[in-house]
């Protein structure tokens, strides 16, 4: 019975059916199934399969995003029901945002979604985010990655500022810092002491995996 529910949850993610995923999550709790098992054996299996379909060229980005949304919808039901001490397994935790003074959102959000679809816990702070807010979020979440986006030559300087703020806060050893955005280059990333630069959302995930030595 529980396996049947896990399969249905996985399929709802693969099909990108948010409403089904949410309803199934509620049913699972009514049936007293273990929420952590539902996540691990259902949703995670589904998102991994979605990722495989994307990697093989069968799925495009919209399917991946719709799948991640379905997963999120079910997680919102299941996560609050986790027993104390239970924690879902994540690839890593990343705090992402667009730096202060910059309102560009889409690239950053795509990276967040791709990271979610690859098993990361993503704390997306939004746009126009001061370094102090990044620091607070890292402290609060215990993140091991930070992603900072900048789309303007005038705001990319904030990425450097963020790195020095992380140092000042004694957090630089805890997190790997990834930077991206139209004016940013690999050499600029190196110059400001970031750990890596990614050209697009897909390579951002690869980079994150490499930086934290996660199995690809």
């Amino acid at each position: 019975m529980s396996q049947e529910m896990f399969d249905k949850l996985a399929q709802a993610v693969i099909d990108g059916e948010s409403e089904d995923a949410e309803a199934l999550a509620k049913q699972a709790l009514e049936q007293k199934l273990d929420p952590l098992a539902c996540i691990t054996n259902g949703l995670t299996v589904g998102i991994q399969k979605t990722g495989e379909l994307f990697a093989s060229g069968e799925y495009y980005l919209p399917e991946l995003i719709i799948g991640a949304d379905a997963m999120k919808a079910a997680m919102q039901i299941l996560e609050p029901a986790l027993l104390s001490g239970q924690e879902r397994e994540v690839t890593g935790t990343i705090v992402i945002g667009t730096v202060e003074g910059d309102l560009h959102e889409i690239g950053k959000t795509l990276v967040g979604t791709m990271m979610t679809a690859n098993g990361f816990r993503v704390i997306d702070l939004g746009t126009d985010i001061p370094s102090a807010d990044f620091i607070d979020a890292v402290k609060e979440s215990g993140a091991n990655l930070v992603g900072a986006s900048a789309l303007l030559t005038t705001t990319m300087l904030q990425q450097e500022k963020l790195i020095s703020s992380l140092k000042d806060a004694g957090l630089r050893e805890q997190v790997k810092v990834m930077v991206g955005g139209a004016p940013v280059t690999a050499s600029y990333a190196k110059q400001i002491g970031a750990d890596g630069y990614a050209e697009d959302a897909i390579s951002a995930v690869d980079l994150a995996m490499r930086l934290i030595d996660a199995p690809a």
């Binding site: 060229g57 495009y60 980005l61 919209p62 202060e100 003074g101 910059d102 309102l103 889409i106 690239g107 795509l110 990276v111 791709m114 126009d128 303007l152 030559t153 005038t154 139209a182 004016p183 280059t185 600029y188 050209e199 697009d200 959302a201 897909i202 390579s203």
Partner: protein
């Protein structure tokens, strides 16, 4: 080879005999009605108190909390009517005026404000600086395919007043019309207009002959940018030309259909036009629609695709049906940086052909750009020039008259003859075989032609060394410097630009 000799700046719009009309009347009406119902029922966000007040006073339905402005269709029609279809984007001299809506063809311009450049000496990619803007402005001044310019790259060496430094570099090195796409706050707008007034002689002279204009980008879907819209209002008050641009990415920031994306795009740009017409009736407006795709495998922004470009060509008809000039069918420099790249060559050829055939008033094409207008390689402009030249010839069609039917010649040469010795052939050959960088004799006997990249490089080198745009007077240059110096130190500007929240 292109004849390299010092000459006065000139412009050459491309007028096409070949026409393409993508949409029929019913389809045009459908998109126009869709845009109007979006403006009326869903509304557009204008995140500026000043704009909201102006709209409220003019009779729009304004929600000051959500900043959504709903524009009744009759209000839209009333104000759209006031926007002129024909006007000039003036250069420093009348022969450099880009005449819009006057059946002169498509005016190409150098786009840009790109953050990166391929260093002309080393070939390395780097962040662009003010001196790069000056160099490219000079190249654009020399080439007649360029009718007007934007600062092609950003002055990353110049802090918050970088857009004004960009304008200064253009004014000092280019005599054609100069448009900005980065003066995106009220304070900078006032400085920019002051600079243009100094070049024109006075604000009145500038209004009379606007040698400066602005293009601002809406935020898709269905919103305006606060700084941009406040800048546009300053330009409207000064009576300078203002363009509104929408860049819907099909399936991301616009619906996954061309028609639906045109609906949202026109709702955005027309709402901006209405605002500037309320502020100053008769303000010269234009629109620009730049549809794009998302690479569905990587998430990368992809501008130059066939679905996007046919959408842009359709936008020409929609703009004209609303009585507005349009910038459309732009070439974006392909998806990756590599000279002699097939994808770039193919893409730019058909995009520019579509531009002139659809009757776009303006288009950015010969810009030397790569990677969705984020990287400038100056020598690339010579390839863009080559493409535009070919399109000029193609879009001219062929001439059929007594002379070109050439029956006398045919009779004279008769059977087994040769037309090479004819004076008319000698004359006509110049037209049949125009100046090009592609067919230079080789230095190496193994090759038929020289590598055109080398020829392009030498051409740019020659222009940078020898071309002298007509200089501004010392007094004007000094005055421009003073304005930019003041802007550099202006705390309100710093606050305005940095405090985007």
């Amino acid at each position: 080879m292109i004849k390299l000799e010092e000459k006065k700046a000139s412009i050459k719009p491309i007028k096409s005999k070949l026409k393409v009309e993508v949409l029929n009347k019913q389809e045009i009406d459908g998109i126009n009605q869709g845009a109007r119902s979006v403006m009326q029922d869903i509304g557009i966000i204008f995140p500026s108190k000043k704009a909201l007040n102006i709209f409220a006073e003019a009779g729009a339905e304004v929600d000051f909390e959500t900043e959504v402005v709903k524009l009744p269709a009759d209000l839209v029609e009333k104000h759209l009517k006031k926007a002129p279809r024909a006007y000039d984007l003036c250069g420093r001299r009348p022969e450099l005026d880009a005449k819009l809506g006057q059946d002169k063809g498509t005016h190409y311009f150098t786009s840009g404000e790109a953050p990166k450049i391929v260093d002309f000496e080393t070939g390395e990619r780097r962040l662009s600086v003010k001196a790069d803007i000056a160099n490219m402005a000079k190249v654009a001044n020399y080439l007649d395919i360029v009718s007007l310019i934007w600062p092609t790259v950003s002055a990353s060496d110049k802090g918050v007043a970088a857009p004004l430094h960009g304008l200064e570099a253009c004014f000092n090195n280019n005599e054609k019309h100069i448009q900005t796409e980065s003066v995106m706050d009220e304070v900078s707008a006032k400085y920019a207009i002051e600079m243009a007034s100094v070049v024109a002689g006075s604000l009145e002279a500038l209004k009379e002959r606007p040698l400066h204009s602005i293009l601002l980008c809406c935020i898709q879907p269905l919103a305006q940018d606060r700084g941009g819209i406040e800048s546009a209002m300053v330009y409207a008050e000064a009576g300078l030309p203002i363009g509104f641009m929408s860049m819907p990415t099909l399936g991301l920031t616009g619906p996954p259909y061309s028609a639906g994306s045109l609906v949202t795009a026109f709702a955005e740009v027309l709402s901006g036009v209405v605002l500037t017409q309320i502020i100053n009736p008769g303000t010269p407006n234009f629109v620009s629609i730049i549809p794009s795709l998302l690479n569905p495998r990587t998430g990368a922004y992809f501008m130059g695709s066939s679905p996007a470009q046919i959408t842009s060509a359709s936008a020409v008809q929609i703009a004209h049906s609303n009585g507005l000039p349009i910038t459309a069918c732009m070439s974006f420099g392909g998806s990756q940086w590599k000279l002699n790249n097939w994808q770039i060559g193919i893409e730019n050829s058909w995009v520019h052909l579509l531009t002139v055939m659809s009757g776009a008033d303006m288009s950015f094409g010969p810009s030397g750009m790569y990677e969705a207008v984020s990287l400038l390689d100056m020598q690339r402009i010579m390839f863009d020039r080559e493409i535009v030249q070919a399109i000029d010839i193609i879009s001219d069609g062929i001439e059929v008259n007594e002379q070109t039917l050439a029956l006398d010649m045919i009779k004279k040469i008769g059977h087994h003859g040769m037309y090479l010795s004819q004076k008319e052939t000698a004359k006509q050959t110049r037209k049949l075989w125009p100046p090009s960088i592609l067919f230079e004799p080789p230095t190496n006997s193994e090759e038929r032609y020289r590598n055109p990249v080398d020829v392009a490089h030498e051409t740019i080198e020659w222009i940078l060394k020898n071309h002298k745009p007509q200089p501004l007077s010392d007094d004007v240059r000094k005055e421009l410097r003073k304005i930019v110096d003041t802007a550099d130190e202006d705390e309100t500007l710093k606050k305005e630009v940095q405090g985007a929240k």
